[in-house]
C-alpha cells in the first residue's frame, strides 16, 4: 500500500481490534488504555506527522526477498521456542503460581482497593510506575527539543478574523464538540478517580483528558487552544506530575517507611494506601495529559510555522 494515510488508518483499526482482544482476555484496564492510545492518540499523531512528511511512499527499488527469508527463519526459530511453553489458559503455568496469588489473595487486606491492577500498579510496583512516568516526561522533553515552535506570531486580530471565517464552515461540528468536550472531561475525571474500583486510572484518564484538549485545538485552531492552555502552564504541569509522584515517595521516607510505602502516610495503613494511590494517580494523570498535549501542540505548531514560512516566501 502506497498511501500512508490508509496505512495509518489501518494501524488505528488494528489498535482498536487489539483492544477488543484484550477485553476478551479479561484485561479490561489494558483494553481501556489501548483503545484510547492505540486507536486514538497514536493515529492522530501519525496523521499530523504525515501531513508534514508527505502522503505517499515511493516504490522500493530493492527486492524484499532477503528480508522475507530472514523473517521466516526468525519466525520459525521463535515458534520452535514456544514448544516448551505452557498451554494457553493453563491454570498451573509458572506465571500463575509465582507472585500473582499473593496479589489476588492479600491485596484487599494490604491495600484495600478492589481493582487489583490499580493496587499492583500504584502500590506494590509503585517504583516501576514512577519510572514509567519519568520516561513519559522525558519523551515530552525530547519532543520539545526536537520540534521547537518558531515564534512568529500573528496578531490576535488576524486570529479572530480567521476564526470568524472558519466558523461558518465548521458550525455543526463545532457546536456538537462544545457539547461533548465537558462530557469528555467529566468522563476523564471519573476514570481518574474511579480507578480504585473499576477499570481506569491515571494513564487512561490522562490520555482521555488530552484527547479532549486536542479535539478543541483541532476544531477551534491552535492559537485559540494555546490561549486556553498556556504553554508555560502545561510544561509546568508535566513536571509537577512527576514531582508530586516523587514527593509522595519522599514523604513516606520521612514518615519512617520505605520509598513509596503509603501505609505510613496516615495513622490507618489502609487509609494511607488510599491517599497514596490517589496522589500518585493524580501525578501520573497530570504528567500524561500534559505530555500528550505538549506533543500535539508542538507537532501541529511546527506545521503551522512551516505553512506560514512558505506563505511568507511566496508573498
Amino acid at each position: 500500500m502506497k498511501d500512508l494515510v490508509a496505512v495509518v488508518m489501518l494501524a488505528g483499526i488494528y489498535g482498536l481490534l487489539s483492544a477488543c482482544f484484550f477485553v476478551a482476555m479479561d484485561a479490561v484496564d489494558v483494553a481501556f488504555t489501548e483503545a484510547s492510545v492505540g486507536a486514538g492518540i497514536s493515529t492522530l499523531l501519525m496523521l499530523v506527522a504525515i501531513t508534514m512528511t508527505g502522503r505517499s511512499e515511493q516504490a522500493a527499488r530493492h527486492k524484499p526477498a532477503l528480508a522475507f527469508v530472514v523473517v521466516v527463519i526468525t519466525g520459525g526459530l521463535l515458534i520452535y521456542g514456544t514448544l516448551d511453553m505452557p498451554y494457553f489458559g493453563a491454570v498451573d503455568a509458572p506465571i500463575q503460581v509465582h507472585v500473582a496469588p499473593r496479589y489476588i489473595n492479600d491485596s484487599m487486606q494490604e491495600v484495600g482497593v478492589p481493582n487489583i491492577v490499580t493496587s499492583v500498579l500504584a502500590s506494590y510496583r509503585g517504583f516501576d510506575t514512577f519510572g514509567e512516568a519519568v520516561v513519559i516526561f522525558t519523551a515530552g522533553i525530547g519532543v520539545l527539543t526536537l520540534l521547537p515552535v518558531l515564534r512568529s506570531r500573528k496578531g490576535d486580530d488576524a486570529v479572530e478574523s480567521l476564526n470568524d471565517s472558519m466558523h461558518e464552515q465548521h458550525l455543526i461540528v463545532r457546536i456538537v464538540t462544545k457539547i461533548l468536550i465537558p462530557l469528555i472531561l467529566l468522563f476523564a475525571l471519573y476514570v481518574q478517580f474511579h480507578g480504585d474500583f473499576g477499570p481506569g486510572g491515571g494513564f487512561q484518564a490522562g490520555v482521555i483528558f488530552a484527547a479532549a484538549i486536542i479535539l478543541y485545538a483541532m476544531l477551534f485552531g491552535l492559537e485559540v487552544a494555546r490561549r486556553v492552555i498556556n504553554q508555560t502552564f502545561i510544561q509546568f504541569a508535566a513536571a509537577f506530575g512527576v514531582l508530586l509522584y516523587g514527593s509522595v515517595g519522599l514523604v513516606s521516607l520521612l514518615n519512617g517507611g520505605n520509598f513509596l510505602d503509603y501505609s505510613v502516610l496516615s495513622a490507618d495503613p489502609i487509609a494511607g494506601q488510599h491517599l497514596g494511590i490517589l496522589l500518585i494517580e493524580l501525578g501520573v494523570g497530570c504528567t500524561v495529559t500534559s505530555v500528550m498535549v505538549i506533543i500535539f501542540f508542538h507537532f501541529a505548531g511546527r506545521k503551522e510555522d512551516k505553512q506560514r514560512m512558505k506563505e511568507e516566501e511566496v508573498g
Partner: protein
C-alpha cells in the same frame, strides 16, 4: 496436543509481520507503523499468558474464585503509554529528518549522506 500453543503462534506471526515491515520498507513512517505492530504483538503475548481458563477480570468481587493474573496487565498498561510516548519521539525525529533531507525514504537519505561525504 500442540494446538494449545496457538496464542504464541499468533503472536509470532504478528511479530514477524511487524519485523518484515521494519526491515523491508524504506519509508520511515511505515517503519514506525511496523514497530507499533511489533510492540502490540508483545502486548498480546503478555496478556494471553495472563489469561486463566474460567478466570475473570482482576477486580475483586464477591462470589468470584478465580481471577486472571493481574501482573502482566500492570506491565502492559504502562508499556502502552510509554510506547506512545516513544512513538511520538520517533515521529518527531522523522519530521526533523524530512526537514533536513527533504525526504523520509531511507535510500534518498543514504544517497544524500554519501554525497555529503
Amino acid at each position: 496436543m500442540l494446538i494449545g500453543l496457538y496464542n504464541y503462534w499468533i503472536v509470532v506471526v504478528l511479530m514477524m509481520i511487524g519485523f518484515y515491515i521494519v526491515i523491508a520498507h524504506g519509508n520511515l513512517i511505515k517503519k514506525i507503523v511496523g514497530l507499533t505492530i511489533f510492540q502490540t504483538s508483545v502486548f498480546i503475548f503478555y496478556i494471553s499468558m495472563a489469561k486463566v481458563d474460567g478466570g475473570t477480570a482482576p477486580i475483586l468481587a464477591d462470589g468470584i474464585e478465580r481471577y486472571s493474573n493481574p501482573l502482566p496487565h500492570v506491565l502492559i498498561l504502562t508499556a502502552i503509554v510509554v510506547g506512545i510516548a516513544t512513538t511520538a519521539l520517533a515521529l518527531a525525529l522523522t519530521v526533523r529528518i524530512k526537514e533536513a533531507y527533504g525526504s523520509i525514504e531511507e535510500e534518498h537519505i543514504q544517497e544524500k549522506d554519501n554525497q555529503a561525504c
